[in-house]
Amino acid sequence: MRDSKRYVGGRFVESNSARREFLSASGLGIGAMALQAMLAQDAAAIGASQEAKPLGVLPAFHVPPKVKNVIFLFMAGGPSQLELFEDKPLLREYHGKLPPESITQGRRFAFLPADAKLLGTKRTFQRYGDSGMELSGLLPHHQKIVDKVCWLRGMKTDVFNHGPAKLFMNCGFQTPGRPSMGSWVTYGLGSESKDLPGFVVLQSGPRGPRAGNTLWSAGFLPSRYQGVPLRSQGSPILDLENPAGVTSSMQRSFVDATNAMNQLRYEETMDPEIQTRIAAYETAFAMQSSAPELMRLNDETPETLELYGAEVGKSSFANNCLLARRLVERGVRFVQLYHTDWDHHGGKNADLDEALEKVCAEVDQASAALVLDLERRGLLDETLVIWGGEFGRTPMGEPRDTTGRDHHVDAFTMWLAGGGISKGKLFGKTDDLGFSVIEDQVHVHDLHATVLHLLGIDHERLTYRFQGRDFRLTDVHGRVVQEILA
């Protein structure tokens, strides 16, 4: 079978001459089985060539890839590193005092008044594992993975409002319109999954993340690279269900008839795009059964469900973590989970007491389970798991009804796990009050460069020409953080 990509009329088209000939010969009577067999063959051929060559627009890997897939557990709202990962005794000592002006000068905060006082945490910390990572009691399950992940305690971002900061963490730019990391990656590398989208987004928590679709937008890249939201209730993908009264076999014959008409038109006009459309209808049809199959968690053993804390038929972060594993098992390139809401300013349902405990309980077990489950299935080596939010929280408390902290961009914590990543490494150090990174800072651009590097991509060479300029995920910044690579 000859498979090639050609550049026609300003875009890449896949032309598959064997399929074309086959369809042409068979006319209206294209059998579903024959075509599916053909698709399976395609998939097999691609599977075999995966090591050698990316499936997207990149002609070759820039560096040897360490991982194939990415799962980004996005903690929307900005988890407080000072309640979870960073013990600052000095903050407790100076609790209720004004921070030194020399430190706060020039910093902008979203909500804090000028006289905001330092806030010592009431949480107690302990060191765990060989790494000696500090964790508060809020994340007990994380104790099991302290030595399996790399802790980035010197994260830094540029923007302090949720929407812009989420865009920045996803797209490397703070206003909408740029492609997100998942789009860049599927653009460059394609996806092994033939009947599921290459970039999938899942959501849990009381509401969607701030900024919505723009977070998984393909920006100026062709829209096929945009993230596709999978819904946990109802139809997982929009328009996945047949129209009322149309059975699966009727849908099959509808697709056959449509493609037969398309084939006739192809013979008339010879436009290669028609072949792409024929393939698209086949993939769509396959997706109609593969997506619901993906969502059926009752295939999983009770032990696995328990590991995650997942429950069949429920909509939760735990279920989504399990779905994320199922997605990468099926070759989906980039999976992103959003969980709301970590925005603990203080006030009703937003305090660092019960509200924080609640969200930690929702997230802790499944996050750890995902790492453990991927590991025992041998998938962790080819998957990168990223955990973190759009920013951290301030060393000062916010003067609201209950305890809370404002958005902090200058120092926060994330963790990475998976192929090519140092296990149990503590990277980055902040000052004694937690204002700034004093050692081993990882800027968002650096994180992006590192993620691309692990996937086999040089972040400076994955570019897209738009409005006269070559754009890239890391803009004109970014450094691969070699120190955290295994």
């Binding site: 300003g10 701030r210 679709n213 008839a257 409005q467």
Partner: protein, 1022 residues
């Protein structure tokens, strides 16, 4: 000559390498003598590989070497592009190796460097990731050999006279071809001249049905009816196409189709963007665009009104509405945002959008640093910024203008009449209300004599529960605890004939505090308050009206008048606020308060009982807890008459008029542009950071980039100055850029492939003579968009077949030279509009607020705040898709799936993809299923209507025939007809085996209809 910093020795060593390279070069190039075109061949290479370090940007310039302009003028001319020069005149002697020695590639350091394999010497350096290809190197060497002639950038050159080189040479060549060219459309002459050079014949004209469908889709965005197609097919008059084109251009749908094209560039959306993404009102601006295009407003005026409509002398309301172009920027409504930051973001977007739309330049690059490729410095950027830094809006919707629905299109006389009357009545209403209010005002309670009302019955009623009110020793009444909610009290009393009994003139209500009530107040609310919404008095069945009411005290916004205004949503209450206490020290809520109600007509004694009702309809459990009622027969002095009856009449008339006016005659507030009286000072923002203005360099006044400085007005201050310059003859870009974009819409790709980059990095035009002659003609004939479109679509080049040709593919892959038309996947909007059109249900109403066709469930599962999407059921369900409400954070899914952007930024060209999600949408979405059913019905009706006329065809094939004509605008071929008929029969059989709510026959036709709406042909303009 500028010296290189490497040593001579290195250079000499290199020449050995170079010589061998050159030998290879000359044998490889067959047409060595063929002239190298600087514009087409050389500049793109230099721009892409060299200018980043050896270009316009001083700060990043390496080795003091500029390659973007001729060496001799490099130091004296600081604006590349407008200066043309011949480098050979400027050869100088120098000890250092010269970068470029015209005519002598082997002596040119540039050639040595690009041919070098030494990583330390090689140019571009390996670290740049931008290696030159062998062909690139050859072109540079040949260009130097041929004299290294620089030319100013084609796009920046004036096209005012037809003496433009490329154009005149082609015209001459075309003329030489003989008589034939005389009768040819100018576009065709020029296109064919280039095709002839490639040895490619043009394609024949598309068949009539394809051509008509193409014209309809391109000009108005709908499908022609079978009748229109038939008529066109048999019309063999010479001007058949012209007549159709004129008809379509004058259709109101034209403004919608091309309005959408413009709205992409305006980044129009119905929401504010960012995280909250609340709805906004911008549709009057959309109306304006449609209306302006339908009126064929000259593009220069179109530009001025949108960029600076508010600044035009005596700006009309429509011009102010038009000035919303730059209010389509986003607003961040998130908590904790700093307005200054998002004001800055909006200005940045305005500068970049203006650059992209009118200049086709990526000025945005210069936001952080001087442009690497194009002659736009960071100071140029902030001078452009200064035009917009005067804006009065700051991450806010204000300033706005009030607009009525339909106002932009001109309101019909009947509506205007209604509106005038509405205005007058509203004034009357206000005046009367004021009078009523004055009559009811809380002036001093008149001193009267009071006697208790001894109730016969006193009941309280809470829903179904009815209980007697407790009678206390002092004759007052108290509500039993069991009565709560919105209980109503009913007191019955008979005012009998007795000696000296005079008519009752007034009733007094005393609200009495009681220790058993909450907070020891007179009311049952937690704080002791109550809200009396109405006091009602009847004798027998006749209601008695009050002319006036007074109270010892009324809570702000709860005056006593509210108890006699027949409005259950307003009432009298007794809380106190600080101002009242200040005015009346000692005033408090929980004490006795009295209200006096004057009867309009004094009430004579009678045996007929009087009933008094006290209503508490507004708040739950805000009852009067304890009260007493009294009456007076004293004369009340000088009552002011409240015009209540007249007011009621006015209100009835108002309701009637509002009922028939769109949006009840209410206007909406649309954002408009406005400048501050004192514009903010603009400084260079280092690295684009708005918090670090570089004041040391001084203020940057508004101005256009230096490169365009020639002949610009002495001073430029406002957006109007900018707009005027953009459409002046001094700026050749606007016309070229727009003509190219119009061309792109009609051919799929522009004459300049990089339609958004007319700078040095952009592609050169494939047909510069076509571009320039169209641009010139466009400007000279008054910037008529309709005229421009007409001149393109009447060419044979436009009308030719889009069928793929192997010979074209071999010689001209990508069909740049237009030996055929292109098949173009229709825009997202047209995917649905075509289906509406095929189904015969498209609602043609033009303009107005956005609408809500069916949308699959779950769209807002992923947004921060769910949006309201009230699915339209009436005609609005079938409006053109461009009217569908657009939320930036979660667009109507069809848009995203079919490549409409989210309009966060300007969109000058949409991408066109072909994906499985698109297949799912058209195959399964409710919208398309519904329309497929309508197509089934329409074909059935057509068969029934026509049965007598075309009797010979069997009904099934006849119906297939109709469906094809409705959906694909042509009749099926024999093979297609046979296959669809087979499919119909098998679908019927399957439907029989899988019964559903849809009858078997209908299901089978539904399947056929779905197939047609899902064909690639349907989704493409051919």
């Amino acid at each position: 000559m500028l010296p290189f910093r490497r040593t001579m020795t290195q250079s000499v060593l290199l020449s050995v390498v170079l010589t061998s390279a050159l030998i290879g070069f000359s044998t490889a190039c067959k047409a060595q003598s063929e002239p190298i075109d600087y514009q087409v061949d050389v500049r793109p290479i230099l721009s892409n590989h060299c200018f980043a370090c050896h270009g316009f940007d001083e700060d990043s310039r390496a080795a003091d070497l500029r390659l973007d302009i001729a060496p001799a003028v490099a130091t004296s001319i600081d604006s590349a592009g407008v200066t043309s020069s011949d480098a050979s005149e400027s050869a100088e002697t120098s000890d250092s190796p010269s970068a470029i020695v015209p005519g002598k590639p082997s002596e040119s350091e540039v050639v040595r460097r690009i041919e070098s394999n030494d990583p330390d010497l090689q140019m571009p350096p390996p670290s740049s990731n931008k290696p030159l290809s062998a062909r690139d190197k050859q072109i540079i060497a040949r260009w130097i050999e041929q004299g290294a002639r620089y030319e100013s950038h084609w796009a920046f050159k004036s096209f005012a006279s037809p003496q433009n080189n490329s154009e005149s040479s082609v015209s001459k060549a075309v003329a030489e071809q003989g008589n034939e060219s005389g009768s040819l459309h100018p576009i065709d002459s020029m296109v064919r001249h280039r095709l002839a050079a490639l040895g490619l014949p043009p394609s024949p004209r598309a068949d009539s049905s394809t051509l008509l469908r193409r014209l309809y889709l391109d000009l108005v965005g709908t499908l022609p009816t079978p009748e229109a197609i038939e008529e066109f097919q048999v019309d063999d008059s010479a001007d058949a196409v012209e007549r159709v084109v004129d008809e379509l251009l004058s259709s109101p749908q034209f403004g919608e189709r091309w309005g959408r094209f413009w709205l992409d560039q305006a980044r129009y959306a119905d929401s504010n963007g960012f995280t909250i993404d609340g709805a906004r009102v911008m549709w009057p601006y959309r109306d304006w665009v449609i209306s302006a295009l339908n009126a064929d407003m000259p593009f220069d005026q179109f530009t001025r009104e949108q960029l600076a409509g508010d600044l035009l002398p005596d700006a009309t309301k429509l011009q102010r509405i038009a000035s919303a172009f730059h209010r389509n920027t986003m607003i961040n409504e998130e908590g904790g945002v700093k307005a200054d930051q998002y004001r800055h973001e909006a200005i940045i977007d305005r500068v970049n959008t203006t650059g992209a739309v009118w200049l086709g330049l990526t000025v945005g690059c210069a936001q952080c640093h001087t442009h690497k490729y194009d002659p736009i410095s960071i100071d140029d950027y902030y001078r452009l910024y200064a035009f917009f830094n005067a804006c009065a809006d700051s991450n806010s919707t204000a300033p706005t203008i009030e607009v009525l629905e339909g106002e932009v299109f001109g309101l019909p006389p009947s509506v205007q009449k209604d509106l005038e009357e509405l205005k007058k009545l509203q004034r009357d209403e206000a005046a009367m209300k004021a009078e009523v209010q004055a009559a009811l005002a809380d002036d001093a309670v008149p001193a009267l004599d009071w006697k208790p009302i001894a109730a016969l019955h006193a009941l309280g009623r809470d829903g179904d529960k009815e209980l007697p009110l407790e009678r206390l020793e002092d004759g007052s009444l108290r509500v039993p605890k069991e009565l709560q909610g919105n209980s109503r009290y009913q007191i019955e009393y008979v005012y009998r004939h007795e000696i000296d009994a005079k008519p009752i003139t007034a009733v007094r209500l005393r609200a009495i505090p009681d220790a058993s009530l909450p907070n020891q107040g007179p009311g049952t609310a937690g704080n002791g308050n109550f809200v009396l919404t109405e006091i009602e008095m009847l004798r027998g069945d006749s209601p008695l009206s009050f002319s006036k009411a007074w109270a010892s005290h009324s809570q702000p916004k709860y005056p006593i008048g509210h108890a006699i205004d027949s409005d259950a949503k307003s009432g009298w209450a007794i809380n106190v606020d600080a101002d009242q206490v200040k005015a009346k020290p000692g005033l408090k809520m929980n004490t006795e308060h009295t209200a006096v109600f004057a009867l309009k007509d004094p009430l004579a004694p009678s045996d007929t009982p009087i009933e008094i009702f006290l209503h508490h309809d507004l708040n739950d459990n805000y009852l009067i807890g304890r009260f007493a009622l009294e009456y007076s027969t004293s004369t009340i002095e000088q009552q002011r008459e409240a015009p209540t009856k007249e007011l009621a009449q006015v209100e009835a008339r108002l309701a009637e008029i509002r009922g028939r006016l769109p949006n009840g005659g209410k206007s909406v507030a649309q954002m408009v542009s406005k400048d501050m009286e004192k514009p903010a000072a603009t400084y260079r923002l280092e690295r684009g950071d708005f918090l670090s203005p570089d004041k040391s360099r001084g203020e940057l006044p508004p101005n256009i980039p230096e490169v365009f400085a020639q002949g610009r007005p002495e001073s430029m201050q406002t957006r109007l100055d900018l707009a005027n310059w953009l459409v002046s003859e001094r700026n050749p870009l606007t016309a070229r850029v727009m003509v190219n974009r119009v061309w792109m819409r009609l051919f799929g790709v522009g004459l300049v492939e990089t339609e958004n980059d007319f700078g040095f990095q952009g592609a050169a035009p494939t047909h510069p003579e076509v571009l320039d002659s169209l641009a010139r003609q466009w400007v000279q004939t008054g910037w008529s968009l309709k005229g421009l479109i007409r001149s393109i679509v009447t060419s044979a080049t436009y009308q030719q077949s889009s069928k793929w040709r192997e010979d074209v593919e071999r010689v001209d892959a990508g069909n740049k030279f237009l030996a055929r038309q292109s098949r173009i996947r229709v825009d997202a909007e047209l995917v649905r509009d075509q289906a509406l059109s095929a189904a015969g249900v498209l609602e043609m109403r033009v303009g107005g607020p956005s609408v809500h066709p069916p949308q699959p469930a779950g769209v807002y599962n992923f947004t921060q705040t769910p949006k309201t999407w009230k699915e339209d059921t009436g005609a609005n369900r079938y409006r053109k898709t461009m009217y569908t409400e657009f939320f930036r954070s979660a667009p109507y899914p069809l848009f995203t799936t079919f490549d409409a952007p989210d309009f966060s930024n300007v969109c000058t060209r949409r991408s066109r993809t072909n994906t499985p999600l698109q297949a799912l949408t058209v195959a399964n979405d409710k919208v398309f299923s519904e329309l497929a059913m309508f197509l089934v019905d329409r074909s059935e009706r057509a068969v029934l209507e026509q049965q007598n006329v075309i009797g010979e065809l069997p009904v099934v094939s006849e119906r297939i025939d109709w469906m094809m004509r409705f959906a694909l605008c042509r009749r099926p071929t024999k093979v297609e007809a046979q296959r669809l008929e087979d499919f119909y029969l098998s679908a019927k059989e399957t439907a029989r085996q899988n019964p559903s709510d849809v009858p078997t026959e209908k299901m089978a036709w539904f399947q056929v209809a779905r197939v047609l709406l899902n064909t690639d042909e349907f989704l493409n303009r051919e």
